[in-house]
Symmetry: C2
Subunit: 243 residues, 2 copies
Amino acid sequence: MVRFFVSPEEMQPDFMSLTGENAQHAKVLRLKNGEEVLVCDGQGGESLCAISDVNDGQISLVVRHQQQSVTEAKVKVSIYMAFPKGDKLEHVIQKATELGAFEIVAFPSARCVSRPDEKSLRKKLDRWQKIAQSAAEQSGRGVIPKVVALPSYAEALKHAAQADKAILFYENEQAVTLKMSLQAGEFQSISLLSGPEGGLEAVEVEKAREAGFDICTLGKRILRCETAPLCALSAVMYHTGEF
Amino acid sequence: MVRFFVSPEEMQPDFMSLTGENAQHAKVLRLKNGEEVLVCDGQGGESLCAISDVNDGQISLVVRHQQQSVTEAKVKVSIYMAFPKGDKLEHVIQKATELGAFEIVAFPSARCVSRPDEKSLRKKLDRWQKIAQSAAEQSGRGVIPKVVALPSYAEALKHAAQADKAILFYENEQAVTLKMSLQAGEFQSISLLSGPEGGLEAVEVEKAREAGFDICTLGKRILRCETAPLCALSAVMYHTGEF
């Protein structure tokens, strides 16, 4: 079923209308009177609606049923990724959204080649958030993952460490596996942190350890910086019983 | 350490030389006398070598130590993917190689939009195999996954079913998870099969069931056709103790 995201304030109990980009999208899809669509507030609330009127720039809806999204993951997984080069972060945002991430947080680390300034970052964040929304629509999510940029590695550690379990992936770690870390308990929220193309520096890894992170390996093969978070996220979703 | 792949016939016990693309690559990397490199036969055999001479078009090597690759996965996982649109298969080949796939097999299914003819397929296979080799070098693999194209869905089922466990991912399956399927035993070889953009048809899924496949879900969210095999591969590698 087609899925539209509106702001929580736009959600109404009986009648609703889609405007702007949502109405345009509905037009492209040639939706007709009587067809059912799902309207989501992006925070897990959903309304099953029937189309009652189609006009240029506005689609009128009758609400048939309200529910909480059933497609969200049981565990909130946050992806912390050092700014990669090129459009790799866009790729990670799209895929991590499909795979059920709760949020995606970008930050600078010592070996980051890409360091967007404040102005370009504001533009990029808009773009990144749209990518997350579009991926949430396509994959049937009830929540749009928030895309956040933090100003420093220290801030990233501080935020990530607030989860029940914070894990950093380091290619020089060989003994501690992700499985060991996940099997240590039941967690409601998990942060997964990984570095940029050149990896994290040893001193950065030690700072994470001091902040309470588990330092884990993702296996004997070297993963690209855009592969590591998606591999880890897939494994966490598998571990927590999503599939 | 830099890793070069040569054919098994080129592997020698005492002295070796790198020529062609390997020599070019060594030149780009500005490798010098005395530096150590790893020469791999692409089938798991590796020689640790020291550079003894650098010439235009040829690098001479002294073999110091021969070994079997230690970076290969314990379980042989084959990725069976219906031809996707655009360059998505290239993406899957690169990532699946990093993640440790044993081979990547492409095939046509009923809803495939992309159906390369024999001539373009031959060219593409060359290109795909090179992507696998390059990803194997970068990720430190000892084996270059073979990229294969099969002429029909029936052939794909026949080949995939030869593994100890064959699994098909279907978005309409809700009860049987990948975990259930993997927990049913210990497997030396696993085939993971998934469909194109439009998904597999119900009749195709039934044929797989008859051929002995487990039909599994990858969770409540709809994954893109290029995300599903990589998500499943990551989960299998996690399950089998790789990380």
